[in-house]
Subunit: 330 residues, 2 copies
Amino acid sequence: MKPIALDAMGGDYAPQETVAGALLAAKEGIPVVLVGQTPAVKAELQQQGGDLPIVEAPEYIAMEDAATDVRKKRGASINVCMELVKKGEASAVVAMGHTGATLASALFNLGRVQGVERPTLLIEMPSEKGRVYLTDGGANVDCKPHWLVQFAVMATAYAEAQGVKNPSVGLLSIGEEEGKGNALTNETYPLLKTTPGVRFHGNVEGRDIFKGTTDIVVTDGYTGNVVLKLSEGEARTLLKWVREALTSSPLARLGGLLVRGALQGLRAKMDPAEYGAMPLLGVEGPVFIGHGSADARAVRNAIRKAKSVVEAGLVERVRASIAQLTPAES
Amino acid sequence: MKPIALDAMGGDYAPQETVAGALLAAKEGIPVVLVGQTPAVKAELQQQGGDLPIVEAPEYIAMEDAATDVRKKRGASINVCMELVKKGEASAVVAMGHTGATLASALFNLGRVQGVERPTLLIEMPSEKGRVYLTDGGANVDCKPHWLVQFAVMATAYAEAQGVKNPSVGLLSIGEEEGKGNALTNETYPLLKTTPGVRFHGNVEGRDIFKGTTDIVVTDGYTGNVVLKLSEGEARTLLKWVREALTSSPLARLGGLLVRGALQGLRAKMDPAEYGAMPLLGVEGPVFIGHGSADARAVRNAIRKAKSVVEAGLVERVRASIAQLTPAES
C-alpha cells in the first residue's frame, strides 16, 4: 500500500498532534507521509523522537483562511497531499480541520468521479445498533433531489466498503409516510424508491438517527450539519450534567467513583474523535477530513479509517455505483 | 380567569390521562373544562372519583385521522374547544397529540392574528442556561425569509410573557458569520438585523442549542422538527446507555444505587413531559399542543403553562409586536 498523505499543518494543534498521530499509526504498521513545511515538521519529529518521511509544502491553509485560498496558495500542504494521490504516490489524503479548503482542494486537484454532480461529506455517528452514516454533512447546503439520490448511492458504497451488508437508507423527514416532509424530501422520495443499488427504507425522523433505524440517513448539507453539531453538543451537555449529578452530594460522589469506569466507555462512544474523520465521497481519490480540534488519537483513528477504506477499494466502488445510475439520476 | 378548555379525547391515553391531568390541575386551583363525549368523560371522572365541568362534543379526531378531518367532523372535541375560546367562554385550548389537526382547527375556528402570515409552533428545550425556545417546531416545513422574521417576533413576545428579559434570538445555521448558511438563512439574516423588537445575536449552530447561546433559536419547521425529535431521541439513547453502564458490573451496580437519586433530576430535566406543551403562536387565542403520549403529569404541566401564558397576556403581546412590523416585514 502506498503511504497515506497526512496534512501535517492542518488543525488547531498542528504540527504537534498531527505528527504524534502519524507516529501512532506508523507504529501499527500503516505507512504515512507527512506533508508540510519541512523545518517545522522535522523539528516536531525530533522533539517526539520519531522518524517518518516528509514531503515539502512551502505554504499551508490556516483555519481563518477562506476555502478559495487553496487556489492562491498553490504550494499549500493540502494541495500537495492531493497531488501525491493524483500522481499515485499516496493512497489517500487525511486532513484535520478546514473542511471548506479540503473540499475545494480535492475538487481542484482530483476532480469529481465521472457522473457525480456534487461530492458529499459522510458523517459517522453512534447509534443503538452500532453506528449510522449521515450524508450530506455540510458540503452542499442547498440540494437538488437527484443530488440526494447520488449521496444515497455513494453512502451505500461506503457502508459496504466498511463491511455493512446491504445497508438500508432512510430519508430524513418529519413523518414516516411518503408526502410528510418539505419540497426537497417529497421530490426525493419517489426517486429513491427506484434507485438501483439503494435499499430504501422510506422516511425516517430525527429520533431514528440514534435509534439506528437505518444504516444510512440522507439529507441536505444544511440539515446534516445542524444534526451533526446538535448531536455533539447535546452529548457534551448531557455528559456534563451526568458528571454534575455524580458530584452533587457525598453519597453521589461515592457512587460516582464506583461507576466511573463504566461511564468511561460511554464517553468514548460519544467522542467524535473515535470516528476519526469524515470521508469526502465522489472525488477521484480517498479524502478524509477530521475535526480541527483533533488530538493524536483522533489523527491516528482518521489514518486507520483511511487505510481500511483504501483497502476496500472505496473510489472504485463509488465509480461503479454511480455508473449504474441512468443519466436522469446522475 | 375563564376555564381552560382541555380536549379530553386527544392523545394516545385519552380520556384516562387527560381527565387525570385535569383533576391534578384543578387541585391546584386552575379552572378546567373537559371537552369530549359526555358519557366517556363522565365515566372516567367517576372512575377517578373527581368532578369537573364537561362540554359535550359528539365527535373527536383520532390520531390516525387527517388534519383536514377537522372540517368534516365539525363536532370534534378540538373544534368545540376552539369555539369556547372564540365565544369567550374559555381562556385557552390545551390538546394532547394531533398537531396537524389542532393547527388546522385553530386556523379554521380562531383565525390568524392580523398581519401574521403563518402561525408557528414554539418548542421549549432544556439548555445549560435553563431553557431555549425553538421556532418553528414543524408547522411550516418550507419557509420564506419574512416568515422566519415573524417567528422571531412572536417567539420574543412569548419568551417575554414567560419572564425572559430582552430575549436574544439566534438564526440556526452552519457557521457563525453572516453568509454561512443556506439560501433561506442568508436571506433571513439581513432582515433579522433590522427587525424592531428583536435582539438579534446572529447565526447560531447546532451545538449552540443545548449550550443556550441564545434564548430563542429560529429555523424552518422541517429543520426545527428534526432538531426536536433528534434531541429527544438522543437523550433517550444516552440515558439508556448510562443506565446500561450502571448495571454493567457488580461494582457499577452498587455505585448505580448510590447515584440513582442524583440522576433522577437529570432524567426529569430531559423529559419532554416536563415542558408540557408547545404553544401555537399567531392565532387568535392561546392554543397549546402536547405530546400524544402525554400522561396525567404532562397534561397537568400543559394546563399550568397555558394558565401562565394567559395571565401574561400572550395573544395581546403577539398582536402588538406583529403590528410594529412594517408591511414589508409582515
